[in-house]
Structure formats: C-alpha cells, structure tokens
Point group: C3
Chain length 165, copies 3
C-alpha cells in the first residue's frame, strides 16, 4: 500500500501551492508587476540570493524585502526608474515538491525555474535558472507566500535586475 | 479552510487537461504529426500568433486553422513539402493553470512552453517560448481542444515554421 | 462524464511518480550524487542512450547499470575521478504522463527534461534535452525506479559526462 501523509486541512493543498506559484510567474510574464505584492502576506519575506551565498549561509542578497509594504515601494521605484529597453520574460516552473513543514500553519515547497528573456527585437536568451524555496499559508482560504527565497544558480547576475523573479 | 471551486463533472478535470496538453507535446516531439488533428474537436480553432499581435488584438496569425479538416490538410502539405534538414523538438510545458470558464462546457487553461530544437548534427537551440491559451472539452469522456491559441513571445519567427507548435 | 482509469492501489499514484522524479532531479541539482542509487530498487536498470540509438533499437548506451550495486560503484568512481571544473545543473522536468502498464506491479511513465549547466564562473548553457521513460514500483509503500531509460535528443554528447542524468 502507499505511504502518504496528507497536508493538514488548515494549510494549502499541493494543488493550491502549485497554482499560486504559477499564477505569480504568469503575472510577471505578463508584465503585471503591480500584482506582485498581492501574492504575499503582509509580513512576508522575499529574498533573492545566489546558490553560492545561500550554501555558505551568507545573508547577502540581491533583493530583500521583509514586508509587503517594502514590495509595494519596490514596484513604485520600478515604474519611476523604468529606463530599460523593453523586454519580457517566460518563466518555466518545474513540478513542485512539498518538504517537511517548518511551521504548523505553512507548507514548505521547492521547485526549479528557468527564465527566458525576450528583447523587443525578438532576441531570446536564458536569463536565469535556480530554485524557489517557499513557505505558503492560507489567508482567508487563499494561498499566499509567507516566505519566498529565490536562489539563483549562477553568480553572474545581470546588474540591471530590478524586476522580481 | 481552503476555498476551492471544483470543475463541473461534465468538463475535463485538471489532471485530464494537463494530460491532453502533454500528450500533444510528446506526439510533436516524436514527429507524429499525423496524430495532431486528433487532439481537436471537429470545429476547433487552432491559431499561432505573436504576443505583440495578440496584445494589440490583431487577428493576424502565423498559422490559423478553423476546423480539424484544415489541420488534416496542413498535415498533408507538411508531408509533401518536407524539404528541410531533419530535426526534432523538445517541448517543455509548465504547470497548467485553470482560468475562468468562457463557456459552460469547456475548461479554460493557460500554460507556458519553451521549445528546444535539435538538428540532425546535434546542435540544440531555444527555438520558441510562449504560452498556450486553451479551451478544452469532453468528447465521449475524452478531453479535446475546442480552441488552442499559441502565443509566441518573440516576433522573430523562423519563417520555415510549417510544423504545429 | 469523464473516462478515467485509476491506477491500481498496489502501484504508486500519479502524484508519487511525479514526486519521485522531481526529488531525484533536485538531488542531482544539489550535487548529492550519493543519494542517487537510493532512488532505485536493488535490481533496477538505469540506461542513458540517444534518441537515434533508441529509435533504431540499438542497445548501445552511454551509461548502463543493471543493478543498484553498479550504481553505487559508479558513485565511488565519480568521487575518485572528479577532476573537472566545478559546475552544477538545473533539471527542468515536464509534467509526467502515465502510459500503458508494462507489468502488473509497475507504473509506466514518461516526461521531458531540459537541463541547464552552470559553470563556476557563472556561464550557463543548455546542456541536454530529452525524455525519461520510467517503470516505477512501490517498495515498502515508497516509490522507486525499477527501470529508468534516459533518452537524449542530441547525438552530441559531452564526453565528460560522468554524472547521472
């Protein structure tokens, strides 16, 4: 017989976790950066770092927001500073695996990503690869990120990154 | 508690939707283009366009078939005109998200794709990225595309495209 | 109504199959090659080949292990011979499709992969694409590979491959 441990009913289901992660990616692909903070709880942590820094336990990150308010500020700054060549992204998200819970109310999950960037003239390149380590909770029956750690595989970061990943 | 709206029983389940989309991709990866029309209903719409044209509401497309018969004709033409260097594809499909239903009998879904092309000498490149917007129905208990809109991220289309995506 | 054939209860569920395949990929991405043999049954077959050889029914492979013991030997050799520039991988796994069962106790599945390689200096490239054809069984309630055939799309194999895919 199959050994299965179902997720507690007061946490998001596996399907809800995947759904949240993919809607987030689609919103960014569509350039709807204004929607971005709404995927998080009010006191959520959002952190982009590299594999190298993460493995060494270094707290240094490329972006670090410790509340939804900081994310909203970032969105405002993005609209002001948007001086770049127009481009868009295509997030490919791998199947999501549920890990051991780090707290009673949240589901811990992990998935890979590979992001393609498309410039206005049509050039495409592999922009970034890495993994998402997420803590996801239910808020009013809806799944939200309580924590999202974005770990980039490569240390070569395009210093123009201002968009969330 | 979780807020979930289950799909009506006379429409395909989430799992059936994903299954259809992935079997379609595998058939194309295997070069089994003859199977392609069979994934659609008789009066289905198949349309490839670019993000730019789609966002501007332009009806111009790269391929447009408004019935399964037109798709079958396209397959015939493909066999006749196949004068290209042999190559194959690898479709990477992202997790499928179910959107608000546009009609009572169909499930509306969206997923990303990134397609790698492999030439006979072994060269690989990222051929196309984009998203599928699908309307999927049950026909005799089996899921079929009633509509499949393929939206390419890049405006640089390889003009030799004759294969469906 | 939906036509669905559920998997027998003494075989892994669809979700367990996906979970096994993705944990395997994450372990390799993390460089935890020691975990690799543990994903297989004791008498499992692991085989890497090319699409060309596979389609022609040629038994020639790039790697072939016909037991978990052979896999453990391979891991040992890997630790001894690891003279390469440090690098890591990012496995993107497509949604898993269940095929017709080849034996009563196993689930047959297929999924695509696209693997990015990241060198220590940050360079990224598309390393390999292909598909996994798997036979997966329950062993003490836990899903394991009874057979894993890795079919690479390209015939251009980096001859330095010593890591499992």
């Amino acid at each position: 017989m199959r050994k299965i441990t179902p997720l507690p009913l007061d946490t998001p289901s596996h399907e809800m976790v995947t759904d949240l992660i993919v809607r987030y990616a689609h919103a960014l692909d569509d350039g709807q950066i204004d929607l971005w903070p709404g995927f998080f709880t009010a006191s959520a942590l959002y952190h982009i770092t590299t594999r190298e820094n993460h493995d060494q336990g270094l707290p240094i990150g490329i972006i670090r927001c410790s509340s939804r308010g900081m994310m909203a500020d970032r969105v405002k700054a993005f609209h002001t500073a948007n001086i770049f060549e127009p481009h868009c992204y295509n997030h490919m998200i791998g199947p999501v695996v549920i890990g051991p819970a780090k707290s009673a109310d949240a589901v811990s999950s992990r998935c890979n990503f590979q992001i393609v960037r498309i410039m206005e003239d049509g050039r495409m390149d592999l922009f970034a690869s890495g993994k998402y380590l997420d803590e996801i909770v239910l808020e009013g029956g809806v799944a939200k990120f309580k924590e999202r750690i974005v770990i980039l595989d490569s240390r070569n970061i395009d210093i123009l990154i201002v968009v969330p990943l």
